[in-house]
């Protein structure tokens, strides 16, 4: 026993090809899973901090009631190690050289912004620069368009209420250039300490105080727990995740990473399973010999268990040694993409999935075939015994499948993902069984000849068992890789579709009913037709089925829509990007009813027929819910929670009109003429917000592509491992074929064809099951629509055929280089 154990050192193991494959698979598994987990954590932090600049902080507390928050709240925040800042937002008339103009003022404290930077210009022709602080006391930065509207120059003084502030710069972009309809353009930015002296803010003025907080997640969470019981309904606590557009992009990117990690786990399991089965087959003679020498079954079991443990430790150590530099490299790459330094953030708990993957792969996939080695009869030494029928492996496979899907579930935390992938794999194995039957039935009749095609087909038939299991592994690998490519493609398409290049980038708000026609005509003359103008009535949702709405709705739900005035509208037709999910849209004669946005309806627990009461000014309007519809909030078009029919409940209410349209950067000067002609209409410029969103999408895309490349590399290694598992048999066969008179060119062509067919079959299968899995995923996780992806469906089988053909050619190398005599001897 001792001698036998001595034989089993890792060093000796390493000399065996199958052990090298098992170890390589394990190392790659640990490295990939650890790298992805580490990088996902890093990416999330980086993106959140990058997106945090959208709030100019990590969290914002908005007080919409026109009152400042108790000073104790800020003191508490600072005592918890948080940075704080303050902003005051209001609208007022300002007076320039000769004109008045309504502006939206943002007055900021010295600390603003806590996250991100402000882009300013010292004069209209000067260079743009990024600064980390707002204007000082006595100064004001103004929107460049305002400079022209008011016919002013840098250095002039702007009258804000009772104060004269010196225009010291042009405000190009603020990090939290958030999208609020109350923020009426154009913008000026001043110091918060100057607000009192302007005398603009009186009791009852419409003003919003916004407080900024930044610090560690723990401190922020702790502070919020302390703060929450004291918040009033008019207080709103906002984090980056609450912002609709960005949270979606982030959530999707995070899910993609989780999916990537899960696929890495699956790939690893496949690789380990293939390699260890090969290893256990090769070990049968050794086991028989050990038994002959007197080692008992139990001893054999222990021997191999110890080896597995040794491999596990080696795999984990080497895998982590590989993961850390890779992670460092990816982070460097991320830093280059973002064009800013990224702090290396190493979360030790991110390594847990990698360790678990190693343990599960080894014990659920590698151990069963190795455990069965105990049953190898000693008689094998004398006489070759029939091999396993494969039936005894079925319970092991079930355990393995359950284990790996449990692992994926644990890792991704999404049952939907597990079920989608399981479904896809199920479909794959089903088709494979069918294909196996067809292969046997159709190829049985093909009989030789010197033709490479026939020889390749005969080869496929002869190796039908090996071929089918290879196709199964390749197809699974390709399915996993294709799933990832497909999800990436549809994710990006989805984003692209949401924000096309001509997405509306300007809103016109506050259009008086009698100037709607003139406004439309103005823009038509400029060559920009306004597609849809919507009336907008501001009102609160106050009643549900006769009860005050706050009593009727569960206390657990914190619904912002109930805390503020909603924009209500009426419209004859359902907007193109809205979709009715319950009930029916208004028919042309209908005047009663209201259509409610789906998410709000769900949170309020609304059903068709519920009576909603709105308070608009001093009147109340009660209407039944007649339909529930989804809304594309990130479409950059006016969107409404509540829509009424024309001639319905809103008919006599005071309305202004709103629209959005696309205005290319070159045509922006038209806005000056527009503002002069329609001074009461507010123009909201969101082109820079769209730029930021597109920038974030691009960053996420690049990160996703880096992960994709990693996974594809892992897939390639799995394929190489599988092909090399049959290396010896193939080489022996090649040598024998040459001995029996097969020409080199015939051998090369038929082998490449055979592998190409194998790869092609596997590719088609893999892509088909990937489409099925993506179809399921798309429904559950990424909320997109499904379509066939020809750009992936066609090339993957072709690429897979080509890659395998090259693998096949590569395997033949020694067969072609050495004389068949030498090779046959060497392989004996």
């Amino acid at each position: 026993m001792a001698a036998a154990r001595k034989l089993m050192s890792v060093r000796r193991d390493w000399r065996e090809r199958d052990v090298r494959v098992v170890l390589a698979a394990l190392i790659i598994a640990v490295a990939t899973v650890a790298t992805i987990a580490l990088f996902a954590g890093q990416l999330q932090r980086t993106l959140v901090s990058s997106a945090s600049s959208f709030l100019a902080a990590d969290r914002q507390l908005e007080a919409e009631n026109g009152r400042e928050i108790p000073s104790g709240w800020l003191t508490e925040a600072r005592s918890r190690g948080l940075e704080t800042g303050r902003m005051v937002e209001f609208s007022t008339m300002v007076f320039g050289a000769e004109n008045f103009q309504l502006v939206s003022v943002k007055a900021v404290s010295d600390e603003y912004p806590l996250r991100g930077q402000i882009e300013v210009q010292e004069d209209p022709d000067g260079a743009r620069q990024l600064v980390a602080q707002g204007p000082g006391p006595g100064e004001v930065w103004i929107n460049p368009r305002l400079l022209r509207l008011l016919n002013m120059s840098i250095g002039d003084s702007l009258e804000v209420g009772n104060r004269n502030l010196r225009v010291s710069g042009l405000l190009i972009r603020e990090p939290d250039g958030g999208f609020r309809l109350s923020a009426l353009a154009p913008r000026i930015m001043m110091h918060a300490d100057d607000v009192a002296s302007t005398g603009v803010i009186q009791t009852g003025s419409r003003v919003e105080y916004v407080y900024l907080f930044a610090g560690s997640d723990d401190a922020l969470e702790g502070y919020y727990r302390w703060l929450e019981p004291q918040l009033e309904p008019s207080h709103e606590w906002e984090s980056v995740q609450d912002g609709e557009t960005f949270s979606r992009s982030l959530q999707r990117a995070e899910r993609f990473l989780l999916l990537g990690g899960s696929l890495a786990v699956l790939l690893a399991a496949v690789a380990v399973a293939v390699a260890s089965r090969q290893y256990s087959l090769a070990q049968r003679d050794t086991v028989a010999l050990l038994k002959t020498l007197g080692v008992r079954s139990r001893g054999i079991g222990q021997l191999y268990l110890r080896r597995l443990a040794l491999w596990g430790i080696t795999g984990v150590v080497a895998g982590l040694a590989l993961a850390l530099p890779l992670f460092w490299l990816l982070t460097r790459l991320l830093s280059e993409l973002l064009e800013r330094p990224v702090d290396l953030y190493l979360e030790p708990s991110a390594l847990a999935p990698a360790l678990l993957t190693a343990v599960v792969s080894l014990f659920a996939f590698a151990y069963p075939p190795i455990r069965r080695l105990r049953n190898v009869p000693a008689m094998r030494v004398l006489r070759s015994q029939p091999g396993e029928s494969g039936r005894e492996a079925i319970p092991d496979m079930l355990v393995a499948i359950i284990a790996v899907f449990g692992l994926v579930w644990l890792y991704a935390g999404e049952l939907g993902l597990v079920i989608s992938l399981l479904g896809g794999l199920g479909l794959l194995l089903g088709i494979l069984a069918l294909l196996g039957w067809v292969l046997v039935a159709a190829l049985r009749k093909v009989r030789g000849g010197g033709n490479a095609w026939r020889l390749a087909l005969v080869g496929l038939y002869r190796h039908r068992r090996a071929s089918l299991s290879q196709i199964a592994v390749f197809a699974m690998t390709l399915m996993l890789a294709a799933t990832l490519i497909l999800v990436r493609t549809s994710l990006l398409d989805d984003w692209q579709a949401q924000l096309p290049d001509d997405a509306p980038n300007h809103f016109l708000i506050n259009i008086a009913p009698d100037s709607v026609g003139d406004v439309s005509r103005f823009w038509s003359e400029q060559g920009h037709d306004l597609e849809h103008l919507y009336p907008m009535v501001r009102g609160r949702l106050t009643g549900l089925n006769g009860q005050p709405v706050k009593e009727a709705v569960s206390k657990d739900e914190r619904i912002n829509a109930l805390n503020r005035e909603l924009n209500l509208t009426w419209m004859p037709e359902l907007p193109q990007d809205n979709e009715i999910v319950q009930g029916a849209w208004f028919n042309p004669e209908q005047t009663r009813g209201v259509s409610v946005e789906a998410e709000l309806a769900e949170r309020l627990g609304l059903a068709i027929g519920d009576e909603l009461t709105f308070t608009i000014g001093s009147s109340k309007v009660t209407e039944p819910v007649t339909s529930i519809r989804t809304v594309q909030w990130d479409s950059m078009k006016p969107n409404f929670y509540m829509a009424f029919p024309p001639g319905g409940g809103l008919t006599d209410m005071p309305a202004t009109w709103i629209t959005s349209f696309y205005l290319p950067g070159d045509d922006k000067t038209a806005l000056n003429a527009f503002s002069r002609r329609f001074p009461t209409v507010s123009v909201l410029e969101i082109d820079h917000i769209i730029d930021r969103i597109q920038q974030i999408v691009q960053q996420v895309t690049q990160a996703i592509e880096a992960i994709l490349a990693l996974i594809l590399a892992a897939a390639l290694v799995v394929m190489a491992a599988v092909v090399s598992a049959t290396l010896q048999d193939r080489q022996r066969e090649g040598a024998l074929l040459r001995t029996l008179g097969g020409r080199q060119s015939l051998l090369v062509r038929s082998t490449m064809l055979e592998f190409a067919l194998l790869g092609g079959f596997a590719g088609v299968l893999g892509v088909a099951s990937a489409e099925a899995a993506v179809w399921a995923l798309q429904f559950g996780m990424f909320e997109g629509e499904f379509g066939w992806h020809w750009q992936v469906v066609v090339p993957i089988p072709l690429i897979s055929a080509l890659v395998l053909a090259l693998f096949g050619r590569w395997q033949l190398r020694p067969v072609l280089r050495v004389s068949p005599m030498l090779l046959l001897r060497r392989l004996e």
Binding site: R383, S384, P386, G387, R447, G448, G449, G450, N451, R454, L455, V458, R462, H463, R465, A466, D729, R732, E733, L736, L737, R738, T739, L740, G741, G742, R743, Q744, S745, L746, S819, P820, M821, L822, L824, R825, E828
Partner: protein, 242 residues
């Protein structure tokens, strides 16, 4: 038909003619000479045994005679064709049509059934209806009941019978056998060598056999012995005794 077959038709020509054959292999540090100036002539239909100890160079000689490898020096003519000057593919073509092999370790492909193993050379040679011919040959070696068994399901003797059937499948003019009974017990070895001899006589094949089994060697028409890469001419006494 090509020129090689028609080479000096009608004249008794040797099937194999070897002149001054030398073979060296390069090792890491030096060069090892395995065969030293071997000369040999074997006539059509003859059966010849080459005996020698392990490592004497007999298997290397067999490989060179069969065109599996090319010599460092010297020439090999097989059926009138100077194969030592042939390219790899020309030699392969020649092997497919004129040479059969029987190996000590059988060299059957484990993924294939007995039938498929025998069909392999027929398919490579592009012969029509390879299955019928393969069945017939397997019947001839007494394995008609085991057509669909894989090598793993066959005993050593049975595997060698499949290999013999495969060797005769493409109607070779010369058969090379490398220790054909080396992996078999005495009785099975006898049965297999009986079969080999019988088939050889029936088909009129030239047989070149490498062995260290003197009994088997004694059943051949001529015997050569090889030692340290040098081939010794058969003594006339031995020839007369046969």
């Amino acid at each position: 038909m090509n020129q090689m077959t028609d080479f000096n038709a009608g004249q008794p020509q040797p099937m194999l003619r070897v002149s001054n054959l030398t073979h060296r292999v390069s090792l890491e540090t030096d060069t090892l000479t395995i065969l030293k100036g071997v000369n040999l002539e074997i006539n059509r239909g003859e059966s010849v045994a080459i005996v020698g100890r392990s490592g004497s160079g007999k298997t290397t000689l067999l490989g060179l005679l069969a065109g599996l490898d090319t010599p460092s020096e010297g020439a090999v003519e097989l059926d009138g064709a100077r194969i030592s000057e042939f390219g790899e593919d020309e030699r392969a073509k020649l092997r497919a049509s004129r040479v059969g092999f029987v190996f000590q370790s059988f060299q059957l492909l484990p993924a294939m059934t007995a039938l498929e193993n025998v069909m392999l050379p027929l398919e490579l040679a592009g012969i029509e209806n390879p299955e019928a011919r393969a069945r017939e040959l397997l019947g001839r070696v007494g394995l008609e009941e085991r057509l669909n068994h894989t090598p793993r399901q066959l005993s050593g003797g049975e595997q060698q019978r499949v290999a013999i059937a495969r060797a005769f499948a493409s109607d070779p003019v010369v058969l090379f056998a490398d220790e054909p009974t080396g992996n078999l017990d005495n009785r099975t070895g006898h049965a297999v060598s009986d079969l080999l001899m019988a088939l050889n006589r029936e088909q009129g094949t030239t047989l070149v056999m490498v062995t260290h089994d003197e009994h088997l060697a004694a059943r051949c028409g001529r015997q050569f012995s090889i030692e340290a890469g040098e081939l010794t001419e058969p003594s006339p006494a031995q020839e007369a005794a046969d």
